[in-house]
């Protein structure tokens, strides 16, 4: 896992003013300033706003809870350690999400190279693992069942809220390819969820 500071850079344009993770831009800036002072409450605020989406996205990309935990946890810790270098005029959420997305994609590619695709992960989901935090297990299973190329762009777009241009840069494909994968993935999900 690449934890070099130079690998943790802002990788996209400033997004709109829509609150990310339930935080307004102003509240998020205040939380970043607080965390820089060592304020645990401020850190908790950033964590509550951004870690859940990071974990869910990592899980859906890699389809392994332990790996997803490592990716989301290490991504957040890397962000905390790099706070001093963080450009505070930028929103924190997209910065963190880009870190996590890059790590999850790298991990997925490494697994593919090692031919360690976890067939059991889908069986696990299809079996309907009891979870009090799974209000939409059908949707989770449907996302996890998408082909990897579609799954990654759908997760990056709709869980991590990256733009198609940001996804294209991360995945290394043209933006048009991102859009077509998104369209196919969402079409499949719509069919599966409506069943």
């Amino acid at each position: 896992m690449d934890a070099r500071p130079e690998a943790i850079r802002w990788a996209g344009p400033v997004r709109g003013t829509r609150p990310a993770g339930g935080l307004t831009p102003r509240a998020e800036r205040a939380a970043v300033r607080g965390a820089l002072r060592g304020d645990v409450g401020a850190l908790d605020t950033l964590f509550a706003a951004h870690w859940p989406a990071a974990y869910r996205a990592a899980y859906l990309i890699i389809r392994d809870a332990h790996a997803a935990e490592d990716i989301a946890q290490e991504g957040f810790v890397a962000a905390v350690r790099a706070l001093d270098r963080f450009d505070r005029s930028r929103p924190f959420g997209p910065w963190l999400r880009t870190i996590v997305a890059r790590r999850a994609i790298d991990a997925a590619r490494a697994r593919a190279l090692r031919r360690e695709v976890e067939a059991t992960a889908l069986e696990h989901l299809d079996a309907g693992e009891p979870s009090p935090l799974a209000p939409d297990a059908d949707l989770l299973a449907a996302i996890a069942a998408l082909p990897e190329d579609q799954r990654i762009v759908v997760v990056l777009r709709h869980l991590l809220e990256l733009t198609p241009a940001e996804i294209a840069a991360l995945v290394g494909v043209p933006r048009g390819t991102v859009n077509s994968r998104l369209r196919r993935g969402l079409d499949t999900l719509s069919r599966e969820v409506q069943r």
């Binding site: 060592g38 908790d44 964590f47 869910r56 946890q73 810790v77």
Partner: protein, 50 residues
């Protein structure tokens, strides 16, 4: 292109992972070097003698 309700998705193991990750993040914050924090200016006071 309509999207399913992604905000309803919860991943297996999320709650336990969240608790562990928060503890690790707090530890990482505590470990940050004091000089790196945006602390108030602590340069020597002009009133300090010696």
């Amino acid at each position: 292109m309509s999207a399913p309700p992604f905000d309803r998705v919860r991943a297996p193991g999320e709650e336990e992972a969240r608790r562990r990750a928060l503890a690790v993040a707090r530890a990482a914050l505590a470990e940050r070097p004091a000089v790196a924090r945006s602390a108030p200016d602590v340069r020597p006071s002009p009133w300090r003698s010696g």
